[in-house]
């Protein structure tokens, strides 16, 4: 459970940008995730899919990043942030924070990408 620092794989696609996030998103690593997502927004791309299947830990610091970035994506109806394949733990944390209904979530990344 402990040796699972954050890795972020970014795959720019035609319709959107896909991020595969692995490991921990906590107070130590959340700034790195925010930086990676923000870099894409700065390039004028606001359609993001985050595959959370291999996220092992998600704290409020990580949720703050998701909320902040999703808000920016949705401004002026220019895009959105979709979640894909959240595992049970991630889903439980989203529910705890009352966020499970707010993010559009898909069982697979293919479905999420296909919805843009």
């Amino acid at each position: 459970m402990s040796n699972d620092s954050l890795t972020i794989e970014h795959q720019p696609l035609k319709r959107c940008d896909l991020f595969r996030i692995r490991g921990r998103v906590d107070g130590e690593t959340a700034p790195r995730l925010e930086q990676a997502l923000r870099r894409v927004l700065e390039n004028g791309r606001y359609k993001l899919v985050l595959n959370l299947a291999e996220v092992t830990f998600l704290s409020s610091a990580g949720l703050r990043v998701l909320i902040t970035i999703a808000k920016e994506c949705r401004r002026f109806n220019r895009g959105n942030l979709y979640l894909a394949a959240p595992n049970q733990r991630v889903q439980q944390v989203l529910e705890l924070a009352g966020l499970d209904e707010l993010f559009k979530t898909f069982p697979t990344e293919v479905e999420a990408v296909g919805n843009f």
Binding site: M1, D26, E28
Partner: protein, 144 residues
């Protein structure tokens, strides 16, 4: 603080910085397992502890780092964790409850950490005295 850690409590003394989070996590996880908690209980305790420590780093020490003592123990089947820092006094009543209802566009992002701690633990008690901030969190029936 009305509850003191027993001398046999697991103890970690560390400087509270974001980089220390992984050491704190490893310590807490080790304590949970040594004290007989399963992976499920351990996961949620680690989340509550992470929120508490992030709070200390950001608010008590305002990002400048400072001493932190963590003590974990078990009494019967209850799990206790006591955090002690020397930072600014923390007044939980000044933290607005999190916004759990608004649509995402207007959702505020604050207050979730404290909310998580209170949701995940059965008791969350803050106190402040001449020696600093004390935070006691208890998970009842954590074992068995």
């Amino acid at each position: 603080m009305s509850v003191d850690a027993p001398a046999s409590a697991h103890h970690l003394h560390i400087t509270a910085t974001p980089a220390a989070l992984s050491t704190i996590r490893t310590f807490t996880e080790g304590c949970c397992h040594a004290l007989g908690l399963d992976d499920e209980q351990t996961f949620w305790i680690l989340l509550a502890v992470e929120e508490a420590i992030t709070n200390i780093i950001e608010h008590a020490y305002a990002g400048r780092g400072g001493e932190l003592d963590i003590r974990c123990w078990r009494a019967d089947d209850d799990f206790y964790i006591l955090l002690h820092d020397h930072g600014r006094p923390f007044a939980p009543e000044t933290v607005a409850p999190p916004d759990l209802e608004s649509p995402l566009e207007t959702r505020s992002v604050g207050g979730l950490g404290l909310y998580f701690m209170r949701k995940l633990m059965d008791e969350v008690r803050f106190s402040f005295d001449a020696e600093g901030n004390h935070l006691l969190m208890v998970k009842r029936h954590a074992v068995g």
